[in-house]
Symmetry: C2
Subunit: 310 residues, 2 copies
């Protein structure tokens, strides 16, 4: 296999469907990924919004195998592989490389708080050395509101110096545009994804690579449209349209709300299930969400057809 | 096997030794646990201070097997078994029960933040139902400074009502005495461990069961002395002595400092290793730590003999 190209564009941290016994539903995930690809959306499976940290390493390996074996293109995949424990991160990352994934999105180990950049550098180094594969491409995952362990600019600088061909990019889910901007300015050639489409236009104007966003699960085509036409006169209007839909979603717990929308617009109620500690939307919340989206003429074109093709 | 008794006394979240390749060193852990038992200290293996969240489930299962197969008494063990993912927590918890552990110390799933008590109740319920063993005894692990996901009083009340014979106690590592006090008052018969020996005297006076504390790794006999003589006239002095040693330790990153002390007083330098993202003490820190402990006449009696018996 040749070395993977740098990824760019719009990626979805694909929501993970569960069966009635809360086991992962591989067939539904394959279909959902096919639909996302049909909308020009790449696959950041096993992200925060995928409930990936509620899955065991074995479950993630089995799902990845089901996707690739099911014909989903691994060159459009950037699975999340970072866990608290180096052996788990190594195992999942090595498997993703072996299956041909174009890159991995890597959380820092996130249980211990207040750890040093030196400690995080050692953790990433240990993973890279143990995976030991020149095809490995790491996109660092900076999401301090959830992980509580940040990936600082100084840490990035050190990793880039030590592993220039391996550490190639970042997803910045800090929600702080000034941080994304600092990454773009300080590291030319580094692949910077905004962690939300709210920053997509600014990120593209600053030389960024696109976005990896929760709401790309439900609104991928519109987000991709801004990605391809950010230099057009309509760009600001497109951004405003994206912000409007995101604003609706943000009134609810994000993951259950994404799943409620997929269930409704895909006409497939099984999608509402979440794994504890998350809780599905209440019936009242669900109605409020759908009414607000309907009012905006929101649709997920083609999704119901994909779901019907079970 | 008969149902396990309620645990009480002083417990150590036993530090985990690593080999040069950062793999767990089972033989050293067995010896350390024997020494701790000789000091009347119970074994809360796989706690926060054990770097348990830097270990895979497989590594923890192998270590637990090595301990029990090595003759370490499981009725004196309360392994930490809570992880982010229900299947992992179930697997490790079921194994601990099978090997005869008197209880397990269970973190809530800790990746997703801001989750509801309803979601956490469902997570604990799912684990209890899946383990499905009447011998299971859960001690809830409340450590908001690290896990960032709290175990509220309302959640405890709900779990006690639903699983009165299974959910039997808590370790309160909030560092907030008023929270521990509220647990003692609101739940008579609930087994409340203070998360630090700093609160041991207050906890015993309030009807608590003892403490599970980082520094029990190095100062177990003195902590146990206060546990057995908290009603004596010397109790306040004993508490002050414990606070003095803990004060020294808290000037340094706790886990590397514990390991540095074990390495020094046990004359076994291999103990200094930590897994990333943690970093061992610098030479200057180590000297400062040992000087401060030596100045107080600190010793770890019998530890070097245990280490020499490799």
């Amino acid at each position: 296999m040749s070395a993977p190209e740098r990824l760019s564009g719009v990626f979805s941290p694909v929501v993970t469907p569960f069966k009635a016994d809360l086991g992962p539903d591989a067939a539904r995930l394959v279909r959902q990924c096919r639909w996302l690809l049909s909308q020009n959306c790449g696959l950041a499976v096993f992200g925060t919004n995928s409930e990936a940290n509620s899955l065991s390493v074995e479950e993630k390996i089995d799902l990845l195998d089901a996707l690739v074996d099911g014909g989903v293109e691994p060159r459009r995949m950037m699975p999340g592989t970072g866990t608290c424990a180096i052996p788990d991160t190594v195992r999942l990352t090595a498997h993703a490389v072996k299956r041909g994934c174009a890159g991995v999105l890597m959380l820092p180990p996130f249980y211990y708080k207040g750890v040093s950049d030196e400690g995080l550098f050692r953790a990433f180094s240990e993973v890279i050395e143990r995976v030991g594969d020149t095809r490995l491409r790491i996109y660092l995952y900076h999401i301090p509101p959830v992980a509580q362990v940040p990936i600082t600019l100084d840490l990035i600088e050190r990793l880039l110096a030590a592993y220039p061909g391996t550490v190639v990019g970042v997803k910045d889910s800090s929600g702080d545009w000034s941080n994304t901007e600092a990454m773009l300015k300080r590291f030319p050639g580094f692949t910077v994804f905004a962690g939300s489409e709210s920053f997509l236009l600014r990120n593209m104007r600053g030389g960024g690579a696109g976005c990896i966003s929760a709401t790309a699960n439900i609104n991928p085509a519109a987000i991709h449209k801004l990605y391809t036409s950010w230099q057009s006169p309509q760009a600001e209007d497109l951004q405003a349209g994206l912000d409007d839909i995101r604003g609706v979603m943000q009134k609810f717990p994000m993951i259950p709300a994404l799943k409620a929308a997929v269930a409704h617009y895909g006409d497939d109620p099984a999608w509402t299930r979440v794994r504890p500690p998350l809780v599905e939307l209440s019936e009242a919340q669900r109605k409020e969400l759908i009414a607000a989206l309907d009012q905006r003429g929101f649709r997920m074109p083609g999704l119901a057809e994909v779901a019907a093709a079970i």
